[in-house]
């Protein structure tokens, strides 16, 4: 039962990863693409992490996955901001 929940969460997470990549291809400009990469991928990774935690069934691994998710969130929000800022200063996206 827990395995089924875990697999369903992982599957849903992958859908959001795919949506992030599709957004990268389909959206019109650099800043809009960053939206897809940060938000869809972060949610995808969160669902993936919870899913893997269900499959592992181990509290220590679950805590570790939570930490990894938070660290990746911080890194991706910061790098998205830096890319957005740099592009804006260079005069892109007016």
């Amino acid at each position: 039962m827990l395995d089924a929940v875990g697999l369903a969460l992982i599957g849903t997470g992958l859908v959001f990863f795919a949506a992030g990549s599709i957004g990268l291809l389909r959206l019109p400009d650099l800043h809009s693409r960053l939206h897809a990469l940060t938000k869809a991928d972060n949610l995808g990774l969160g669902l993936l992490a919870v899913g893997v935690a269900f499959l592992a069934g181990d509290l220590l691994i679950a805590v570790k996955l939570l930490l990894l998710w938070l660290l990746v969130l911080a890194a991706s929000a910061a790098s998205a901001h830096l890319i957005a800022r740099h592009a804006r200063l260079r005069g892109q996206g007016r």
């Binding site: 940060t38 949610l43 930490l67």
Partner: protein
């Protein structure tokens, strides 16, 4: 003049060592990387944010977590629906929001969370305002950002 072993530093070193132990399963060889990384991170953190600790509010944190999770979920679903539509539903543009949060950690948390909220992305932080990119200029971001600002303010005891 701050002491070398201030309460703040001891707390931060303990937290960093605990985090490293957890992430590496206590592998002794990992300290070869861990010790310099922790030292650099703490030194850089003090340089950027200053040695003074910002008091955190436990209630603020407990209220922030569900808010953060809900907004991450909505943000991901929103952007996925927009890009998967037959014609991507976006009308991007830049906007400004007047920011009254003052402490550096509160402003950093606000800036990073803005990028996880549905449809907004932090572009530039200025003293009194934040410039952001909106995926759809027709949306009402002001209300969302005001809610986020209150939630972040509560975490750092700037709003009650």
């Amino acid at each position: 003049m701050s002491r070398v072993f201030s309460r703040q530093r001891v707390l931060l070193v303990t937290a960093a060592v605990g985090l490293w132990l957890l992430l590496t399963d206590g592998d002794p060889a990992s300290w070869l990387v861990g010790v310099p990384v922790i030292a650099l991170a703490l030194a850089y953190g003090e340089r950027v944010a200053g040695p003074a600790g910002t008091p955190l509010s436990l209630v603020g944190i407990l209220l922030f977590i569900p808010f953060f999770l809900r907004e991450s979920l909505l943000g991901g679903i929103d952007v996925a629906r927009r890009v998967l539509a037959y014609r991507p539903r976006v009308q991007p543009g830049f906007a400004r929001y007047p920011l009254s949060l003052r402490s550096a950690p509160a402003r950093v948390l606000f800036a990073n969370t803005v990028s996880l909220l549905p449809g907004t992305l932090t572009v530039e932080m200025r003293d009194q305002e934040i410039e952001l990119h909106a995926l759809d200029m027709r949306g009402d971001y002001y209300t969302e950002l005001a809610r986020l600002e209150r939630a972040v303010g509560r975490v750092f005891g700037e709003v009650h």
